[in-house]
Symmetry: C2
Subunit: 198 residues, 2 copies
């Protein structure tokens, strides 16, 4: 039986691509960045502001995390998270789908989900990103720093919003190395496992 | 293509049973405690001494960890580990098999293996052991302590002999929750994943 599938992933592990391919295989919707726009509509914040605060946590921009909205008196980044969470719950009500990132596993902890964590060795993830972005060898050190930094921010984001440890197996049904056997191996394994879920 | 499969597991997760069933499904040998006896033969130590030092690390007995043999001048527990490692490598040369515990993933790190980590929530593991050992509710606290203690010893053992972190996803191909979808789910997922390994 097809479920809602949430994917957490190390940067460069190919978790997003894997999620998209898994959704294609199962013929169900795939959600990632679109969530942001849908969430923006949901709480009626201008989209570019919304994206700025979200990206500030997830990517590399330096902005202040704790501006307070005059209406809600909660930090803007928390408003973003709460709005995204509402959208995630709404999507989950519509039926099976694949949702990447945004702590969807914890947002939907009361739903019937399959929670995956996708990872690969640091070296392989850096190589994958260098190839994908067609970068020269001179950019290697910078890419290594970027991978460490984005992983750290994902870990912080997950810890901050869920209180749990990002990438700890016990938070997921399955944790899969996406490099050692390739993405099809992960997709087949996830589908085989999911077939046994109630 | 069937490989050598190594299984690390949290205490009470059913990793050993899972390994045995996986071996049955694949029609290949399964190795666990037998390793100790084979290793004992290998270095010609009396079996009861051998088992005592091995169990001291893995289970709950209190013995001194650092007696020195007059022949090798390395701690007896290290001799045990080295002897087991030799046996594991010998078994691996004979072809596909399933090996549970004993840091087999790291002992065979230069071989073509599928390395699995099996876990389940603390609560479910305690429940499983209580049921398996047919214990009354009054024994619950003691079983909880036992699970924590054996997990801690497995973690220490792995850390001591491999220098790596036990249960960290990046050390394994696949990490599987054995309770949420059941053992057949884990077995099917492992077989589906393994089919893609070179």
């Amino acid at each position: 039986m097809t479920k809602i599938i949430t994917i957490s992933r190390e940067f460069g592990s190919g978790g997003r691509e894997l999620g998209r391919r898994l959704a294609d295989r199962l013929g169900i919707p795939f959600y990632d960045k679109e969530l942001i726009r849908m969430a923006a509509d949901d709480i009626d914040i201008e989209e570019h502001i919304f994206e700025m605060y979200d990206d500030a946590f997830m990517e590399k921009k330096e902005v202040e995390y704790t501006p307070f909205s005059s209406i809600y008196e909660v930090p803007m980044s928390d408003q973003t998270f709460m709005a995204q969470s509402r959208v995630i719950r709404r999507l989950a009500q519509h039926g099976p789908c694949v949702i990447v990132g945004r702590c969807a596993d914890m947002v939907l902890k009361d739903e019937q989900c399959l929670n995956l964590f996708i990872y690969a060795s640091f070296k392989k993830r850096v190589q994958r990103l260098m190839t994908r972005e067609n970068l020269p060898e001179t950019e290697l050190r910078q890419m290594e720093r970027r991978v460490r930094e984005i992983d750290r921010k994902r870990r912080d984001y997950y810890q901050y919003y869920t209180g749990n440890e990002w990438g700890k197996p016990q938070n997921y049904h399955l944790c899969l190395d996406s490099h050692k056997a390739g993405m099809d191996a992960c997709i087949d394994a996830a589908i085989a496992y999911m077939a046994h879920l109630d």
